[in-house]
């Protein structure tokens, strides 16, 4: 659903706020984090020792905002993508 978005985190690393398409959203409940996986065999170009985690795993967050639920993908530090919204 588009490019990188900017997310503000609290001290424990949980998202508290983010901006998307010019609007700002506030997280209103304790967010839920989990880890999902990628189909590296269909995407990656190398899978040598040492890079297994980054090609295989991806961190996900489900946030309850003032405007409904959203799911963010957090594949790398400072990189956040919006993958889904529910109202």
């Amino acid at each position: 659903m588009g490019g990188n978005i900017v997310v503000s985190l609290n001290q424990t690393g949980e998202p508290v706020e983010f901006n998307w398409q010019g609007a700002s959203y506030r997280v209103v409940e304790k967010p839920v984090r989990w880890f999902s996986r990628r189909q590296w065999w269909a995407e990656a170009s190398r899978v040598q020792r040492g890079i297994g985690k980054e090609v295989l795993e991806v961190e996900m967050w489900r946030l309850q905002t003032n405007a409904g639920f959203v799911e963010l993908m957090h594949p790398a530090p400072n990189e956040w993508r919006l993958v889904r919204t529910y109202h």
């Binding site: 999902s36 996986r37 269909a42 899978v47 297994g52 090609v55």
Partner: protein, 1104 residues
Amino acid sequence: MNDFTHLHVASAFSGHYGVTRPEQMAEAAVASGFSALAITDRDGLYGAVKHIGACLQLGLAPIIGVDLNIFDDDGSSLGRCVILAHGNNQGAGWATLCKIVSVAHERRKSASSNSSSGSKKDIGIGRRMLSELMANGNCTLLIGPDSDVGRQVVAGNRTMASALLENWHGLFKYPGSFGIEIVSHLTQPGTVFSSLQARRMVELADANNIPAVLTNAVRYLEPDDALTADVLDAARNLEALGLFESQPNAQAWMKPTQKMLALAIEITEDRGRALELFEITAKLAERCRLDPPNDCGWGKPKTPEQSALGIDGNPFEVLWQKAHAGIEHYYPNANGKLLLQVQHRLGQELITINKLGFATYFLTVADVAQMIRDMKIRSQARGSGAGSLVNYLLGISGVDPIEHDLLFERFLSTERSSLPDIDIDVESARRHDIYRAIFKRYGSQRVTLLSMQSKYQGRGAMRDSGMALGLDDDQIDQIAKNMWRFSARNFRGALGSKPELAEFAAAVEEDRRMNLLVDITERLDRLPRYISMHPCGVILGDSSLLNLTPVEPSGAGLPMSQFDKDDMDPMGMLKLDVLGVRMQSAMAYAVREVERVSGNSLDLDAVPRDDAETFKAIRTTNTLGIFQIESPGQRELTGKHQPTQFNDLTIQISLFRPGPMKGNMIAPYLDGRHGFAKPDFIHKDLEPILRETWGVVIFHEHVIRILNVMTGCGLAKADEMRRSLENPRANHLVQQFFRKEAAARNYPQAVIDRVWSILEGFSSFGFCKAHGAAFALPTYQSAWLKTHYPTQFMAGLFTHDPGMYPRRLLLSEARRLGVKLLPIDINCSTNEYRVEKDANQNLGVRMSLTEVQGISEAEIERIIAEQPFTDVSDFYLRAKPSRRTMERLALIGALDAVAGISAGEVFTRGDVMARVRQLNAIKKRPTPREDQPTLDFSRLNFGNLEQLPTGHAEMSITERVQYELDILHLDVTQHVLEQYRPMLDEMGVINSNELVGLRNKSDVLVAGVRVATQTPPMRSGKRVVFITLDDGTGCSDATFFDEAQSRCSHILFNTKLVIISGKTRRTGVRGVSIMAENAWDLKELWNQWLIAVEDRKQTQDLYV
């Protein structure tokens, strides 16, 4: 807070599931500050002994359990659960765990009554059976996220989950024997292994007052390894990635305590409850810590009880008597001096054996050896055991250690307390008979077979990687074919340096999936792949053996331990290697044929070992079929070495090893032997030790004696030091001791320095002389048979196929020896290669029916049972061959004799074929009983004298050979190369037996069937390819270095008929090899030549 203990950990020995070796896990556990660690492999205790060993070494408390499928009463799966053995209860927990695992595998046997071996899915245990085995409270069962309860929890069915939990709890009532496993792999909320599921599992446990235990269901050490786990999942499922549901993420790693605590808090959302989870986990861990000596019998030698061996009284006294009784038999004519030597040595060996308490062990092995002899099966001890006089006198070994100057201390000494290895070589064809006899004699409670874990290596790793990526089989085969002699661990490195991988390297550049293939092949390399029966190991114990090792069914139909050979010594288990050696079968067969044909008995073991004819034959280098010295390299060495006595064979076998070759020991030895250089013994004290090898240190025995002479430490201690030489950490202690003691004995500093540098360099090179001598015996015996009974010997080789070469090369060798090859004949051939005597008393070998492509065992049995046949239709009616077999037999001439062709009648093989076609055209084969009406078939002459249709063309020799090659893979009529003779002659190709007469560096062309391609490790590290061609007159060996390889690498590994150009290189008196320059596919040249000949003919026609 308690430190955390991982209680659910799969090691790499959880086949196609775990990723990390136990030793690595244990080391990482220490680094993470854990004080204990469990291994709970899937379906068995495969990694248990390695885990315990690593823990003991690292000061970690070992815990062992198993991860098993549990079945409900109706056979449906209740999911995988963990069962942990309790420790410090004198082995009660361990024995229960072993029993549970063994029972879990029995199921597989019964489930597989109609297939050869049950599927892995059948492994598991019924819940009720499990509860009975655990009724004593010596183990703890944990049911987790993947159990029936866990699944209901995920689905949100709390009531259902509670009811299912009650089913478990009602069966496992013993306090502390049942718990709930809490796991979160931080998966998506609402799925298995999510924190939400874990939280509900904790709530469920609390509500039912059942202990909850935290684990991370570990299957790899670090998150990076998860990727390897993906590939293993594909290999286990036999499906490409993406076609099945793969693991949810990379969280199943061995997380440190802090991360586990954070996880516990995330699950419980309550720090207090999280700490309680930790506490209960710690309590269970405490209870499961094993005391390996008392729980598992760690390090305590176990042998069958005296009663099982049929011995009364003190075993040592029995051993003493048996050994002394052997003196008269094995040294009948010993004079005073030798007798004194024998008695003195025997006394010393017996004292050592008694001190170690191994008398029962020797009696056991002697008992097995005697049993094998009683079964009339050839056998022979190999390895360091041949250095023991006791073994010789008990009939375990056939080599006299005094005559061959072998050391007992290399085999056994009071400096070591591990059980010695005695390996017995037997006829391979009778090996399973011996196993069954051992089980019968000692009882199945005392005996199991040994298992072995095979590892992923080059091609296997690549095939499974390719399968995981969904690559095309043919594509993988193409690449795998070119993988020669390199570790898959460095696959990427090999891409740049191996010419035969150049094509693939180019594909890797362009194709993303090929790139992945390389990376995951490297990851798989050396991981355990599957467990199988060890080719020769039998474990002999006392009646408690099955409390100490779990067993599972094996391919041989006998129970097999889940432990491998490396586990034997730590577990104090007695392993006997009963190794099937095809050469022993081939020799036994030859001896039986000699006896059958001549009517005289032959005792091969009693043949004098100094037969001049035999050594003369060996020196010709025509050693194909002779044990241990038939490889191209050994043939070349034979040419240079020119052995004249038994000890030469021992030396030659020991020299031709990677160590001595790398250590450049061969050249100085040969120079000394042939008088090209004066032997250098370094010091006069070493001369008696090294005289036999012209000053070159070859044997372990040399090192032991040198250390003993120069330090006065005694032979037993010297062998301990020799062993320490191989250990880089202990090496310097030996050096200190050696230098100090040798200096104290006034050896000059220069001598000490030189000897030390040799000893140090020797560490990885040497060979045990006793082992070499034990090998040399079948070498000599096979050479003797080949020299004196070539027909019977070749028949034995054909039947049991013992060597490294294809059978058709042995055929070629037989022809060269003048052994007559008799074609397959339905009236004479059987399922073996029998020796036949013709009317003139000439011997020949009748080819066996087993070589006919596609023939079934039942067809062979019928043919043998119904022989002889009177004509083709008689054969057709009574032997009932399939149409295809009938046709094939006719094509290779197996019906010629019965059709009267060889008797000089007017018929041709074409006529026989025509008759076979007639018979094959009949829809239903009539029964051969005489009262059957034959009217319908009168046209086909059943019941009357058979009339063959006539007038069909005879087959040419070339056609005959081609059919033989197609149907038998053998060229019986003549060597396959003969048909290309006109071209070879025109090209000036020479025969391999002419090479020895050529000058050094002559330009030559040789041709032949490629019978071996070898890429042995070389001193320089560069790859060299050795190709052996057979042209019917013998073998020619060509060496391809880098430049030559680059010209023709595609020919070297895949082409069958080859022409090679190069220069001769003399390597010794009878040694010649070819420095190759180029190689071609003979068939390609042949096609070009045929066209050229045709052109020439037309050109000539033009001028006529």
